[in-house]
Amino acid sequence: MTPHIFLQLIVNGIMVGGVYGLMSLGINLVWGVMGVVNLAHGDFIVAAGFLTFWLFTRFQVNPLLAFPAGVAMGFAIGVLTQKFLLGRVPQDRGAVKTSLLMTFGVSYMLINAAQLLFGNEFQTVMFLPGSWRMLGLDFAKSRALAFLVAAAISLLLWAFLRFTFIGRAIRAVSQNPEGASVCGIDIDRTRVVSFGLGSALAAAAGALLVTIFAISPAMGTGYTVRSFAVTVIGGLGSFPGALLGALILGLSEVFTGYLASAQIANGIAFLLFLAVLLARPRGLFGRAVL
């Protein structure tokens, strides 16, 4: 492997990893606050992807302009899901299982809604084909743009969680719901906002993803699993962990794809997942939950 190829693979891996990071921030947030893995997470990603696709092909809306619409839709679906479904689950010993099953149901509803609305075929948005060449390296335009947007959103989210009241409330509920409640934080409202935010992040990832790869309604589950794997690798509840986990995954996929085979690259997420669970069950940066 020449140094040039090595650098090119690093670039490719980081760009893919950025989007994986955005994908997994949402599932990480929801899991941290609610104690539930949102099985519909990947379907929120796909739903926003299809919204972007539809606006682009039907009304020639620039995907960057469609982006806020996708995020808003994600937030709205998330808020509604939490308010009318998950928020109504009685908080007894079976609450987590019931919520998990409920997100499974939401997943199926979204898949079938997407199939009815957009059909079953793979669709993609051809936005910014080709690449920019810098320092002898190729930066695929759509991927570089997605990476930059993903990085900006991650920064915004970090600032939001750190400096705003509601952001701090989300962290407090994530760390200790009883304590937060004692301090006067409205747990229910915080959960609604968290779930909305988690879905909005998924939607942001989806709106970017559709400009890079082709998506189909049934692909959401794969994204859920990948986001989940990233969260386990990076560590639950850890912001830098999620991003680092995503970069590790992106780079591992690209390098194993180049050095070994596409088949191994396809399964590397689960190899890492297992390795982390065996060696460091709380993830690289996370707190113990499992």
């Binding site: 090119q8 490719n12 084909p129 189909s216 390098f255 194993t256 596409a262 088949q263």
Partner: protein
């Protein structure tokens, strides 16, 4: 999965009018998943034939009805569906699904239940070399798909070839057959790798291809991957002199790639310009019914049904053993060309053509006698496109 409920409705309606029992034909087809776009064309071809045959008075004096289910581009689902069609729905006749992969799996079900199955989308010859008696290939052999591309590569003096393939039956069969033939066409295979079904990021493989710098790149894959591979060739600046894909370029959706689709060659086993009998009428009727032009998948499925119809008429019953014997000997000119199989059931008659995307349109460029235009080679480097 969307079961087609017309079954019950139609049964009730015909019973009320005292018509003879319909002949029910069962199939599974990929209406979701990787093969959905091509699968949709396939089933439409079959549906059009059902309309046509009913207009002609049906089969054996009985109306014909189609029952089909979505196999989600998945071989295991396909197997379950054919078992259901044969044992629960008790259909009278079956026809094969989309893709060699699914056909390969369900051919075993057909064989076990002694049901004749034509494979209108099964290009992989291996399916028919297992000594089966009830399965017949009704698609061009996989090895013929890239004949046009190989011929053009040789004519232009290209020397090196890189191939990417989905690791399922048909794409692997194409790669294997091309690898065997490449020498005859003066080509050396310098890269030949597969990727798992459902992949969307081909950048690692293409980085390797770029490093090798082959003259010709073949993507032996289906529509979504063909699109993804070309798009990522553009992103990574993989500048081959010639790009050709096995499946996908024949679909109009390939044009969604915009300028990235330009100059790309694609196999097609049928074209509107082919001089097969009934072709113009088929195209017209299809356009009327589905409001879009047929592609080769539509035509191959329509042709399979023509073959089945001819066999049933010849035998005069639905006896599966007699049907199998009749199809084995049948030589029939269909909208897809001449149907003819060897003693194993391998297709001998159907041929292949090559198209190229030129200025946003598909133009048949090979073989010469069917060509609508000349092939443009070499491909313009990505950096020189607007």
């Amino acid at each position: 999965m969307r079961p087609i409920l017309l079954f019950a409705l139609f049964a009730a309606a015909t019973a009320a009018r005292g018509e003879p029992n319909p002949i029910v034909i069962g199939a599974s087809v990929s209406l979701s998943g990787t093969y959905a776009a091509s699968g949709r064309y396939s089933i439409e071809g079959t549906q059009l034939w059902v309309d046509d045959v009913n207009k002609r008075g049906g089969l054996l004096g009985r109306p014909v009805r189609l029952v089909y289910y979505d196999d989600k581009s998945d071989a295991n689902t396909g197997v379950q569906l054919y078992v259901k069609l044969i044992t629960a729905d008790k259909v009278d006749l079956i026809v094969g699904p989309y893709s060699s992969g699914v056909t390969s799996a369900v051919s075993t079900v057909a064989e076990k239940h002694h049901m004749v199955m034509l494979g209108p989308e099964a290009a992989d010859v291996k399916i028919y070399t297992r000594g089966y008696k009830y399965n017949f290939q009704a698609q061009t052999q996989a090895g013929r798909y890239m004949l046009g591309a190989l011929t053009l590569a040789k004519a232009n003096g290209y020397k090196t070839l890189a191939m990417l393939a989905e690791d399922t039956a048909f794409p692997k069969a194409v790669s294997a057959e091309v690898a065997k033939m490449a020498g005859e066409y003066g080509l050396k295979v310098v890269f030949d790798e597969t990727y798992p079904k459902g992949s969307s990021d081909f950048s690692a493989l293409l980085t390797k291809v770029k490093q090798i710098g082959p003259d010709v790149v073949f993507a032996n894959s289906y529509l979504p991957d063909s699109q993804g591979i070309l798009r990522q060739c553009h992103e990574l600046g993989v500048d081959a002199k010639m790009f050709a894909v096995a499946v996908g370029a024949a679909e109009p959706q390939f044009g969604n790639l915009g300028t990235t689709a330009e100059y790309v060659f694609g196999a097609t086993q049928w074209a509107p310009t082919m001089p097969w009998p009934g072709n113009p009428e088929f195209i017209q009727a299809y356009q009327r019914k589905f409001n879009r032009a047929p592609d080769y998948h539509s035509a191959s499925n329509y042709a399979s049904m023509q073959v089945l119809e001819a066999a049933v008429k010849q035998v005069g019953s639905l006896d599966q053993d007699k049907l199998a014997a009749a199809i084995a000997k049948l030589k029939l000119d269909t909208v897809y060309g001449r149907f003819e199989v060897d003693s194993r059931g391998v297709q001998l008659g159907f041929t292949s053509a090559l198209l190229q995307w030129q200025k946003g349109k598909q133009v048949i460029v090979w073989p010469d006698k069917m060509a609508q235009g000349k092939a443009i080679l070499p491909t313009l480097p990505w950096s020189q496109r607007r």
